[in-house]
């Protein structure tokens, strides 16, 4: 399955979930300070493993950084 992960075309296994996308970024089970949106909708932390991605999904995975 092809998705757009943080702006980069990315191939994930069929049946991939949000959790799979986190693993692809080397962030399995990422804790506090990480948030995920799929197609401009926030996916709550508790739903990461259950939320299936679809072909062409736009996935944004954000992490805390320093900022004023």
């Amino acid at each position: 399955m092809n998705v757009v992960l943080n702006g980069e075309p990315t191939t994930l296994a069929d049946g991939a979930t949000v959790e799979s996308a986190l693993v692809a970024l080397d962030l399995p089970g990422a804790g506090r300070g990480v948030a995920v949106a799929v197609d401009a909708e926030v996916v709550p932390r508790g739903q990461w493993g259950k939320t299936a991605l679809h072909e062409g999904a736009r996935v944004e995975i954000l992490r805390a950084i320093q900022g004023g």
Binding site: R32, G33, V34, V42, R63, A64, G67, G68
Partner: protein, 263 residues
């Protein structure tokens, strides 16, 4: 106004939170997380901003861990958002990431000045308040806009002293005083502080708190500047509570004329 100079009872209340420090620290611009941790400890700040960006594989250490260890409350921002839609979505991402419904709302109108986009800011503020957020908007030094932000339910208003990172201090103290005078929510000076006297001036005008990032993080000695600005905030607050003398055109002797000898 309290009749005492006891700072222990002079707390700042924003929404449901009570803070004993009136200095909010922005975390942007520090050379390292260690530098941030050092300045944060010295600043005494209890409410500290944090941002969200795409994962950078080269990023080392976790700012959340640093801030959690310091025991401060996080204030996520929507820095870099140029539309109400982006700001609202970023706020929702931050609520999920940091488990707080507080947000420092920024909707920027122009890359060169980083000044707020007033209509978009108001639109985003209203939407976020309706969604249950505690909204602290970074706003222009515009008394009418500040009032409108308060009217839609913002928990505080945060007018700029001058553009973000400019260090130009408080450019329009007249407008800032009008905002302070009319506001029924805490007023926090956000942006423009270059050094301790800027922070002191804001507090002397009656502002409830000061937020600064660059002035500390990009100072040659961030920890020293954190201490200076902390003291500036405290000094300004005390001066405000003490009630300054009016400005006069001519001198007024402090030594009495009575009893002056005739030689």
């Amino acid at each position: 106004m309290a009749a005492t100079s006891d700072t222990n009872t002079d707390v700042l209340t924003i929404a449901d939170k009570t803070l004993s420090s009136r200095l909010l620290l922005g975390t942007g611009g520090f050379r390292s997380l260690d530098a941030l941790a050092g300045a944060l400890a010295v600043s005494g700040s209890e409410l500290v901003t944090v941002a969200l960006r795409r994962i950078d594989p080269g990023q080392h250490g976790s700012i959340v861990d640093v801030l959690d260890r310091a025991g401060v409350q996080l204030l996520p921002n929507t820095a870099g958002c140029f539309t109400a839609r982006d700001a609202v979505l970023t706020a929702k991402m931050a609520r999920e990431a940091f488990e707080t419904n507080w947000v420092k709302l920024e909707v920027i109108g122009d890359e060169r000045t980083l000044l707020p986009d007033a209509p978009a800011l108001l639109e985003a503020a209203e939407e976020l308040v309706d969604d249950g957020f505690v909204v602290l908007p970074y706003t222009n030094d515009d008394p009418i806009l500040a009032r409108r932000l308060e009217d839609v339910g913002c928990a505080a208003v945060m007018p700029l002293g001058s553009p973000i990172g400019s260090g130009m201090g408080l450019l329009n103290t007249y407008n800032l005083r009008l905002i302070r005078e009319r506001a029924g929510v805490p007023v926090i000076l956000d942006a423009g502080v270059g050094t301790a006297s800027d922070a002191a001036l804001a507090m002397e005008l009656g502002f409830d708190a000061v937020l600064c990032a660059t002035a500390v993080s990009r100072a040659e000695e961030p920890e020293t500047m954190a201490r200076a600005i902390r003291l500036g905030v405290e000094a300004g607050r005390l001066a405000y509570r003490a009630g300054r003398i009016p400005r006069r055109l001519y001198a007024q002797a402090s030594t009495p004329d009575e009893g002056f000898p005739e030689y």
